[in-house]
């Protein structure tokens, strides 16, 4: 009950955004539907007249249908960039098959005797089409349009991944922030929208044929009206365009902080981090919110802007380990700390780059690094005992995990059990707390904000200083959970704003303050 109430509160509080996203969603759905009808209907009619083309047209539309939606959106980016254009194109492609197929089967299903009679009466081809075939095929064609509409509402949520807005912004933001209310605030309206549109269209479908003719004329107008709901989700107009992840948009140490602390006013779109870096590289975006050790920084030659007013809390990585394990194996702490201070930001970026971009197995990457550092040892003679290591699902954590596993085997001869891919923070931490794993690498910022959910005053007092945050987190974990933070590994995988290196240099932008100043000076 409490959940329901706070969901309602969330929706009230965010009603303006919700309304905008809903309108965007309806707009996206209908623009693509309109185009799909404008192209699919004539194409469907065409292949009833040219049966030889029918196979290939239906086959092609069918293949398009089977491309996973995320992949289709991915393909669109190099061709059409980000924003509404690729989103509408992808939605349009999905809507195409049901419309073509149902137009084709609908018209083919009209009694041939009736068609022949129409011709025998002296109807022209167009009269036959509009007065007989389309009217009789109407329920079948409408069923296709219904299917297409529901598909579009569903796939439309993914538009948020490529900066086209819609209810997906809440859904994916909510997933990233582990905010159930936010997820529901996007998912429930999307589901209701699908149900409502499906219901309304089912009424149209069952309509008597007198009303059908009127509907055929009214449809394009209704479609156009709904299509116009789509207004570009742009806040400010500015020289540069920013793309932030749904998560970043919702965080106080994200977009909100940028506005409050820096006074940054930049035209912003919401986008998935899966495509964000590439979009920046391809000059579709100028500023993005990334992670400072992401391998793609190197892949796409992006520059991290200096956070000169420290709104992004430090995310220094260090192993978090259960105290009792540390006490049982006296050597374990020193062995794990062999890595401390060895990996700085650029080294970590390099390692991530090798795995993400060059496709090296994390294990090889880990071993090469240890060898190069002179830390690698072949497994020591087997000793009694097993250490269970966990990691979240992304490359950086895999690499670290393998390094720790190699160190433990090499220096202590203990058994190592690795549990990779424990989802996000929540799953890893819960596993550690419940004695399912013994240790995993965590980040100070995540611990501060997501796990400890520290009060605002504490966070402000710490002021984003590396050491004070580390000490605070270490102390709190020890008191609250009997967990020990070992020494930081060295790199800071914090949020960061990034730009293309070339552009940043050309505009003389090194820090976020520089960026703010540039935008203020160069208002459009």
């Amino acid at each position: 009950m409490e959940q329901a109430q706070s969901l309602w509160q969330f929706m009230r509080q965010e009603s303006a955004k919700l309304l905008q996203q809903t309108f965007e969603h309806i707009g996206l759905t209908f623009i693509s539907l309109l185009i799909a009808i404008l192209i699919g209907l004539p194409l469907g009619i065409y292949i009833t007249r040219h049966k030889k083309a029918a196979g290939s047209v239906l086959g092609l539309a069918g293949v398009l249908q089977t491309i996973p939606s995320i992949a289709l959106l991915g393909f669109m980016i190099p061709l059409l960039g980000i924003g509404p254009l690729p989103a509408i194109t992808a939605l349009f492609l999905y809507a195409l098959l049901p419309i073509i197929r149902n137009t084709y089967t609908g018209i083919n299903g009209v009694d041939p005797l009736v068609k022949e009679a129409a011709v025998a009466m002296g109807m022209t081809r167009w009269q036959l089409l509009f007065r007989v075939e389309l009217v009789l095929a109407f329920p079948v064609i409408m069923a296709g349009i219904r299917t297409a509409t529901v598909i579009n509402v569903g796939v439309g949520t993914l538009a948020a991944y490529i900066a086209a807005g819609g209810l997906g912004e809440f859904i994916f933001g909510g997933i990233a922030l582990n905010n159930t209310n936010m997820i529901l605030a996007g998912a429930i309206p999307a589901a209701l929208l699908a149900i409502l549109l499906d219901f309304l269209l089912s009424l149209v479908q069952k309509m008597g044929r007198r009303k059908r003719q009127a509907t055929l004329w009214a449809m394009p107008i209704v479609l156009l009206v709904f299509s116009s709901f789509y207004v570009l989700p742009l806040g400010y107009s500015s020289r540069l365009l920013a793309g932030f992840t749904p998560e970043f948009m919702g965080r106080s140490d994200g977009d909100i902080g940028l506005r409050a602390v820096y006074g940054l006013k930049i035209r912003t779109v919401v986008i998935s981090d899966a495509v964000m870096y590439k979009a920046a590289y391809e000059k579709k975006l100028d500023v993005i919110s990334g992670y400072s050790t992401d391998g793609r920084l190197k892949t796409y030659d992006l520059l991290t802007l200096d956070d000169d007013r420290r709104i992004f809390p430090p995310y220094y990585a260090a192993p978090v380990i259960r105290k009792e394990v540390l006490e049982r194996y006296k050597d374990l702490g020193p062995v794990l700390n062999k890595l401390a201070g060895r990996i700085n930001d650029s080294v970590m970026t390099e390692l991530n780059y090798k795995v993400e971009h060059l496709g090296q197995p994390p294990e090889k990457c880990a071993r090469d690094f240890l060898v190069q550092q002179g830390l690698y040892r072949d497994p020591a003679p087997a000793a009694e005992g097993t250490i269970r290591l966990g990691s979240k699902i992304f490359p950086e954590q895999y690499i670290l995990l393998h390094m720790y596993a190699m160190l433990i085997r090499g220096y202590m001869g203990l058994q190592v059990e690795t549990k990779t891919g424990l989802g996000g923070t929540k799953i890893c931490f819960t596993a550690l707390l419940n004695n399912k794993i013994d240790m995993y690498p965590e980040y100070t910022g995540t611990a501060l904000l997501a796990i400890l959910q520290s009060p605002k005053e504490d966070v402000q007092r710490l002021g984003g200083h590396r050491d004070s945050v580390y000490q605070y987190v270490k102390r709190s974990f020890d008191e609250k959970y009997q967990l020990t933070w070992l020494d930081p590994i060295g790199f800071n995988n914090a949020y960061a704003l990034m730009m293309r290196r070339s552009q940043a240099q050309q505009l003389g932008i090194h820090s976020i303050s520089d960026l703010t100043t540039y935008l203020k000076k160069n208002k459009r």
Binding site: D111, L113, V114, E116, A117, A118, V119, A120, M121, G122, M123, T124, Q127, V132, V135, L136, R209
Partner: protein, 267 residues
Amino acid sequence: MIEVKNITKTFDGATAVDHVSFTVQEGESFVLLGRSGCGKTTLLKMINRLIEPSSGEIRINGKLTQEGSPEVLRRSIGYVFQNTGLFPHYTIAENIAIVPRLLGWEKEKIRQRTISLMEKLHLPSTYLSSYPHQLSGGQQQRIGLARALAADPPILLMDEPFGALDPITRTSLQKDFKELDELKSKTIILVTHDVQEAFELADRICLMDKGKIVQAGKPEELLFHPADEYVKGFFDDQRFQLEVRMIGPDDYPALVKAFNHFKTRQS
């Protein structure tokens, strides 16, 4: 006047209609008779260009049908299908009004024409706002006829118009059909495989076999002066009834002769 000259139609090498020629005079009822598959429907459809001939030509009142638009041609020719071919999404009134509407008649003129046709075909005007599926088969066939007649075309093509009906309905519809004044002045080509129906309705009969005309002429010519064994054989089953019908009840000696003839053949 309809002149068919040397008309041939082949479907993928199979000849359905084979060098057929005939002329139908204005106001004449011309019946195409023959067994199933002999090419009657194909021949009929070539007259209003539902099927384009492979070779040969057709003239209506001296004008080649191939010249000019097929739609204009078809609007001037009534066509009745065996299975009505009514539009399921049109009311009875709208079905009847199809051709007049295509021809751009005024609403009031169409309405009056519809009502008068309904009367002539003995259909209650309450049906006008019904849909075809709400009517019986016989009633639907009457509507099919009304639709063909709606724009008062000089020519009427009918493809087994009574073929799908039960015998009693068929007889009553044939009777009404014969009595319809409108039809007296029309040039009619009617397709049937029913010999009795052919003799009932025809001014001239054209007997076909395997896409060719075997004999064309007045009913009595085919009956009493068959061109060959096929024609003779074709009527043998029903020769007695047909002869009685030809002779009429008054010519007693002729009737006796026919009866004796029938008896000798039976034994």
